[in-house]
């Protein structure tokens, strides 16, 4: 696809660990409002690729731009300020913080109380604002809380009744929901979801798929890593398949599903490691 007009453009992304090239010259472009999924067997380099884009890891070569701005190898918090929000494969909520506080951390990049531009004195001003809390700071806090409540309410009655409970007391599925709520609070230009249904049962998966579908319907730009290919096929505008750190196929769900290289990537691995569940679900997804 054409590079121009892309919201997020990553070109030639490469990451080596010792002698292994985990991500090998990958290009990835996402248009505004597009839903792009990345699939591939375990160890294909999907999460590493996302880590590089969102700044958790540093790439050895390549370039990432967001709306034309170079964000290559910026620190994670700078990348967040640029409008990329991501969730983590294993769910990383702040266990001892309440649901509300978790979501409020998502608002951090927009918090004016934390955004003093005065040189040298900025730290002092931030502490004084937190101590004195003038009217604008209180108003901002109230507005953020109201918004956080609205975001939390999008998950029905899953989170709202538990809004003041610490997240360690929540079920696994609820913690994943908190993560997504936190990501939405950032007002992301692009939302990166790393296996949002990992470890969820069928009904939870269906519910999560519904939520992600709603996010898509809102016109959000979404990048998804997911093993549940049914879900990928139904949600994605476009799919990118990776294996051994390289892109092996790219296109619409229909194109990728029938691509012999994709099928081989799954089945080829299965000939080494016994039956591959992913290959099975790939064929199921095609039915």
């Amino acid at each position: 696809m054409a590079t121009e007009g892309a919201l997020l453009s990553a070109t030639g992304i490469t990451r080596r660990f010792g002698g292994i090239t985990a991500v090998d010259g990958v290009d990835l472009h996402v248009r505004e409002g597009e839903f792009l999924s990345v699939i591939g067997p375990n160890g294909a380099g999907k999460t590493t690729l996302f880590n590089l884009i969102s700044g958790q890891d540093r790439m050895d070569a390549g370039r990432v731009t967001l709306e034309g701005r170079d964000i290559t190898n910026l620190t994670p918090h700078r990348i967040a300020e640029n409008g990329i929000a991501r969730t983590f494969q294993h769910g990383r909520v702040f266990g001892n913080l309440t649901v509300m506080d978790n979501v409020l951390i998502g608002c951090h990049t927009r918090l004016r109380a934390a955004r003093s531009r005065v040189p040298v004195l900025a730290p002092v001003i931030e502490i004084l604002r937190a101590l004195i809390r003038p009217a604008p700071v209180r108003a901002e806090d109230a507005a953020m809380r109201a918004e956080a409540r609205d975001i939390i309410a999008t998950f029905g009655d899953r989170l709202t009744p538990r809004i003041d409970q610490p997240t360690y007391s929540l079920s696994y599925a609820n913690r994943r929901r908190v993560e997504i709520a936190r990501a939405l609070a950032l007002h992301p230009r692009i939302l990166i979801l790393d296996e949002p249904t990992a470890g969820m049962n069928e009904s939870e998966t269906a519910e999560m798929q519904q939520i992600i579908g709603d996010l898509k319907a809102q016109g959000r730009t979404i990048l998804l890593i997911e093993h549940k290919l049914n879900m990928v096929m139904q949600l994605s505008d476009r799919i990118m398949a990776m294996d051994n750190g390289k892109v092996i196929a790219e296109g619409t769900p229909a194109q990728v599903r029938n691509d012999p290289r994709v099928i081989e990537a799954y089945l080829g691995h299965s000939s080494i490691g016994g039956t591959a569940p992913a290959a099975k679900s790939l064929t199921e997804g095609a039915q």
């Binding site: 969102s54 700044g55 958790q56 620190t75 994670p76 918090h77 967040a80 300020e81 929000a85 991501r86 983590f88 990383r92 909520v93 702040f94 266990g95 001892n96 913080l97 506080d101 978790n102 409020l104 951390i105 998502g106 951090h108 990049t109 918090l111 109380a113 934390a114 730290p123 931030e126 502490i127 937190a130 101590l131 809390r133 806090d141 610490p166 360690y168 936190r182 990501a183 950032l186």
Partner: protein, 610 residues
Amino acid sequence: MESLLSLPWFDFTISGVVIGSIYALMAVGLALIFGVANLINFAHGSVFTVGSYIGWTCAVALGLPLWATVLVVAAAGGIVGALIELLAIRPLNHQSRIAPLLATIGVGLILDQIVHIIFGANPRALPVSLPNLRFSIGSGTIGAIDITIFVTGVISALALYLFLFHSKLGMAVRATAQDGDAARQMGVGINAINMTVFGIAGALGAIAGLLVGIYYNSIDPNASFEIMLKGMVAIVIGGMSNVPGAIGGGLILGLIESYGIALFGASYRDLFAFAVLLLMLLLRPNGLFARAHAREAEPMTGTFVTRAKPVRIPAWALVAGAVLIALVPALGQPYLTQVMTNALLYALAAMSLTLVAGTLGLISIGHAALLAVGAYASALLTMAGLPVALGLVLAAAITAVLGAALTYPAFRLRGHYVAIGTLAIGEIVALVILNWTSLTHGSMGLYGIPPLELFGIPLFSTNASYWFVLALVIVFALLQMRLLSSHLGRTWRAIREDTIAAETYGVASNYYKGLAFGFAGFVAGISGAVSAHQFSYINYDTFNLLTSVLILTIVILGGLGNVTGAIVAAIIVAGLPEVFRTLAEYRMLFYGMALLLLIRFRPQGLMGSD
């Protein structure tokens, strides 16, 4: 250049290798323990001291020959090591990973105090008759003692090698170090392995204690901390759990020190070790011999904060408590009032530490350095003629800035590395105070610090200074609670829970760590400054490692992050031993036991972590 070349480099090399082999003996034990139990054993220096005194008992009091002394010392050290594992470490198996580290600090205090009680606080001679041989080689000489130490080191290393690589138990130790869970699944008894490793480490550490005693013909009950640090520096150089690396690290450190002393003088000896430590942590946290390019992320920040809700005390009870505390002088017992003043100064320091260790999750073992900075700043400013009120405020501000700047190198560290890093930073501050004679009068300390007064109103009566300190505690406690309820409190806790996730959501974690250390530095600086005006005399050792450990004990007792908890615990920990005079003699024992029991039975503290 001529004069540099004419130095006896050969002799410096020999003494570097000899001291280095002792560091290596210490380091091997630390590395084994780190490998198997994932723990930095802060009690290891105390095992060294115990070894040197058992050596004295055998060689001097009982008159045993050297070979028998070495054997007894090794056996006794092994037993002490194994007991540490059995009594202090094993019960903490299911606790957070920072818990055993804190427990070893407690064990170290207890062992040191026991040695103090039995043998007294003064160094003793340890004369051992060795053949008075000296070999001349070129321009230098090697003595029998040098050879004895080096050979003992080599034999120990060989024995260890044979054990690790040619015995079944040794194989189990290596397997456990590589993957504890997998080893357990294969039927390796982890407890037995841990005990074995602590035993071996104890034996080696005790032998090191004996050898150092023989080398200098002197043993010192206060040597524990310094030698433990040297071993720790050696394993940081060698790569934490890397046993051959630990030997290399010990030798390298010995040589660096020996050459450094040759070039700069002996008073800088420890500074080299700490500078090397800090550089290693910053530049090569995996050690010199590691090939890996990135350290595994240790998700350890804040894990000691348990999932327990803090005890919420109603406002009326807090007010009533404050009023009761304010009425202490009405009891008409000046000594009690003084003790309480001191306890409240500790409360300020503990509030400061509980912010960074509890709320932010960076367990600092060098917090006394901030008190020292505040004390010296205010003392020097007011001795130069500034009014005390201005001195206090400026000292607090200086400590805030320095506190954030000095601890900055520790911000990128996690878990156990934070403990080592802050310890090193704290010691470096003490050494700079000791060696910057033109400013600090070095080991002489500062005399005649002006007494407390505010704008001409004297505050140096017992009651006035008590109420002044109490007012400070109340004001800063309220300020800190207000910060905790703001976006800053939320952000600090998020960093503690998961720094990477917080960064991913736009939190510049280093900046917020700096803010926390800035505020904490301000409070600690006030505490140190007021102490200086109260004592009227301070030196580099007024606020030492024991102070740091004491503050940490207070913070854990109060509940990490809990402001009211810190105040209550300060009154208990700093006040009780003074009120019961008999306890005062055994203060370290009391603190050590308190720390150990707390971590074992109430890790969330009295008031719950917040």
